[in-house]
Amino acid sequence: MTDPLNSVSEMQTPLMSNEASPSDYRRINLKIFLSILGGMLLALIAIRLFAMAMGASGEAFIGRPLGALSYLPQIVQEPTDQVMVFGSSMVDAGFSPRQFDRELKEQGVDIKSYNFGFGGLNPYFQDLLARRIKEHYLQNNKRLKLAVIEFNPFQTTQTRYQGSLAAIDAYFGMLSNEQERFDLLLEDPTRGILVYDIKYLRDSVSAEMVTFYFGQAFRSGRPKPNMEPETEAEVARRRDVNDKLEGRFEQDFPDYVNEPWSFAWQGGGTIPQERSDETVELIHEYFASLRTEYRMQADKLWRAQSADIIELNFEPILVESFIRMVKEFQQFSDAVEIIMLPKNSRYIVNSPEALARQQNVLKQIYQATGVTVRDFQNIPEITPDMYSDTTHLARYSGDVAFTHFLAEYYGELLKK
């Protein structure tokens, strides 16, 4: 083998001190400079073309929250009093704004509520989203009558935070404003430049996100419970119901445009009254088919692995983000409530140490915000057959029951 560096060093290289003139220097350095710039530019164009060809964009990863933000100019123009229920996918699945509004109307309260529940966003990202919502409300001199903020312990763990790191810079770029990005640049130039790079040069698609996306195929599957898997009959039943449900929505709502964020239903879904009895029955059957013992145990294992749902080792960064988020809402809301949504306690049973840690965090939130966290995790109104898995309420049963509970709970407050 030859030694390229030794052989390189043997070549004739003019020396600045005695051979190369300043113009020699400038000429070769210009070639180097332009090669570096040109090469990087072409490489960036190549990855933009690749992203375009794949139909990939950063927005696709957080379409629902960005969609919600795009509807905010319309939302703040609504003349009626407003309630916003803000939180995770558990809110998304468990709160029905249209039902809430109907029930409140029956109580004599004219209100418009919104489901601002977003899957995949931990409090760090929710805090950024809350700032954007606040900006719209303050600019339009509008206030929320009531903000109901979900504290989701499962979204606030160290495990959850670690799991979000692949997307943190890209999401920050999409959810932050110019001032926040500039502040980050001054505070942490390394990360600041990275965020600018991802947002403006890479169309919000970071290398980590691409790797995460393509790497999914090579990850080991979800953990499997040590028990008999689902029977063929159980799988067939679910497939059969799913087939029957196919196309039902388009039949019931032929004119509906499938928006990324369902503004038509105020961020939530339809309500049973808007669907045929047969469809509602099929949906009940579908969710029942999801609740096999094997699936529930597998879901529990997966959430323990991906969110530390049993032991709840909290991440201080996320707790602080949550507190900041509550303070954001306090600036444009007449009343702010913090709640914990129901969890499927047949499967999710926290250790005493986890509950002690949770208690400490709730205390910290109260001390920082002055708001008591209302624990609805085990309310009797919600039964185990109202879930689609170990954490999310099922549509048309769980969300109906919980929305009814909230309407009853906050009815008096909203009458004031």
């Binding site: 003019p14 220097y25 070769i28 350095n29 400079f33 090469g39 190549a46 990855i47 980590e208």
Partner: protein, 472 residues
């Protein structure tokens, strides 16, 4: 400021603009290079800049004093002072807590609970590299291998030269100081070779980052890890540490070439080694040759029938250089044992023919045995503790007490991809070693492939910490 980040790209463009077009005279250029290097270093933690500059200033004046000293005793005192300063700084920042904790653990063995307070100081990045580099200067002057250079700023700029400051290669003063004095203009050919090395380094770093996931799984020592996943994890770590470190070295050498500095290669396809000694001729060459020249030879080298002892001490300290933990000591000791064993076996008549044989079959067997031993050594290097290392080694050989789950298809796919990644890195390096120079002369291949490789590096990646060798 890591080479594969946008901030370094921005830093380098600004730096290169001034370096290449504005500061063309020697004196302002040296000052500018020094300031840029200190900015680069300070981006991690500017509090340690005085330590770096202090080391340089101390060794600069000590070297002058050694040269001027009238007798050997005086010279010896001065070089001892340099050793004490450099190794003292290293010891204080890197090894003090390890020693204190080990003393406490040792006393606990005898039932004595010692509450020894630790320093818990932050380790200055690159300290192991620049102290060794600085030491080589005073030792070389002491040995009469070189004369001290005039120019404190030039010496400090050489010691803090940013391409290789934080993770090597470890340069000898006699390699870098003359170049710092001359400031060569790189030829266009050299510049292109530099770009080739930078791109190869970026590709290796990308590979290394992608290999992190299977490594983390195997070294977490969980019950749900299969035998195949253990092997995959250890092989992936072999690839990760190589891609990470050799990648950084390549980028450092490439960047230096663009600036007109020539730094010797630090790796030569090490996993193609056919003996443990051969491995160390190919792996982290700047460290292994430093240890050979300044430690092994100082201990007596092959003379006085102490070769075994000297090899063992050298490898043990080489292990400890990487980190203050018993796992690194065990890693160094393991390499000491296999090198010594190789030497011993080569003296036995029964192995003599084998030792000198270079037929294809024999070479493949030698390679397989060497690679297996290197893989075993990486277990010590990466494991969190010696107990973990023991458990992983047992599990890899099917001797774990727990029943290992059966490998799934996806695990075989991951294993194949890891083999492919490690193989590709070596194939690429082998290609650069053999034909890199010819390749840069073929513009229709060179430029499109450079852009494509850069695009691949920009497109994929995984969240990772800094380069692994920064912690050493």
């Amino acid at each position: 400021m890591i080479f594969n980040t946008p901030i370094f790209f921005a830093f380098f463009l600004v730096f290169f603009f001034f370096y290449g077009f504005v500061f063309l005279k020697h004196k302002p250029r040296i000052y500018f290079l020094l300031i840029a290097s200190l900015v680069f270093y300070g981006a991690w933690n500017y509090h340690f800049i005085p330590l770096l500059v202090g080391s340089a200033v101390a060794d600069y004046f000590i070297a002058q004093a050694i040269f001027a000293a009238g007798n050997v005793r005086h010279k010896k005192m001065l070089v001892t002072l340099s050793l004490a300063i450099n190794l003292g700084i290293l010891g204080l920042f890197k090894y003090a807590d390890f020693v204190l904790e080990s003393v406490a653990d040792f006393m606990l063995l005898f039932g004595y609970q010692a509450n020894i307070p630790t320093l818990a100081w932050v380790l200055p990045v690159g300290i192991s590299f620049y102290t060794f580099q600085s030491l080589s200067y005073t030792i070389d002057v002491y040995r009469g291998d070189m004369e001290p250079r005039k120019g404190l700023v030039e010496f400090t700029a050489a010691l803090s030269f940013f391409p290789q400051l934080v993770a090597g290669p470890i340069l000898r003063a006699r390699q870098i100081l003359p170049q710092m004095h001359q400031f060569s203009l790189p030829s266009w050919h050299e510049a292109k070779y530099g770009m080739l090395l930078i791109t190869a380094g970026l590709l290796k770093k990308t590979c290394a980052d992608l290999l992190a996931a299977p490594v983390a799984k195997a070294f977490a020592v969980q019950e749900s890890v299969s035998l195949l996943e253990y092997w995959t994890g250890v092989l992936a770590f072999a690839g990760q540490i190589y891609g990470d470190f050799a990648g950084y070295s390549d980028m450092a050498i490439g960047i230096a070439l663009l600036l007109g500095f020539k730094i010797p290669l630090n790796f030569r396809v090490p996993y193609f080694a056919v003996s443990p000694v051969d491995f160390w001729r190919r792996w982290h060459i700047s460290l292994s040759s430093w240890l050979r020249d300044y430690l092994y030879i100082s201990l007596g080298g092959n003379r006085n029938n102490h070769r075994t002892r000297n090899v063992f001490i050298t490898m043990l300290l080489g292990g400890l250089w990487h980190g203050a933990a018993w796992t690194f000591v065990a890693w160094g000791a393991f390499h000491g044992v296999i090198i010594t064993l190789t030497h011993y076996l080569s003296t036995l008549p029964i192995f003599a023919a084998w030792h000198s044989g270079n037929g294809r079959g024999i070479m493949v067997i030698k390679w397989a045995i060497t690679f297996y031993l290197v893989l075993i050594s990486w277990v010590f290097f990466r494991a969190e503790s010696l107990a973990d290392a023991g458990q992983i080694l047992l599990a890899m050989h099917g001797l774990a007490s727990v029943s290992l789950p059966i490998a799934e298809t996806v695990q075989w796919i991951i294993f194949s991809l890891v083999v492919l990644a490690v193989g590709l890195m070596h194939w690429m390096d082998s290609g650069i070693l053999k034909g890199g120079e010819r390749f840069v002369e073929k513009p229709w291949w060179f430029w499109p492939l450079m852009v494509l490789a850069q695009a691949v590096c920009l497109l994929i990646g995984a969240p990772s910490d800094e380069f692994i060798y920064f912690q050493f």
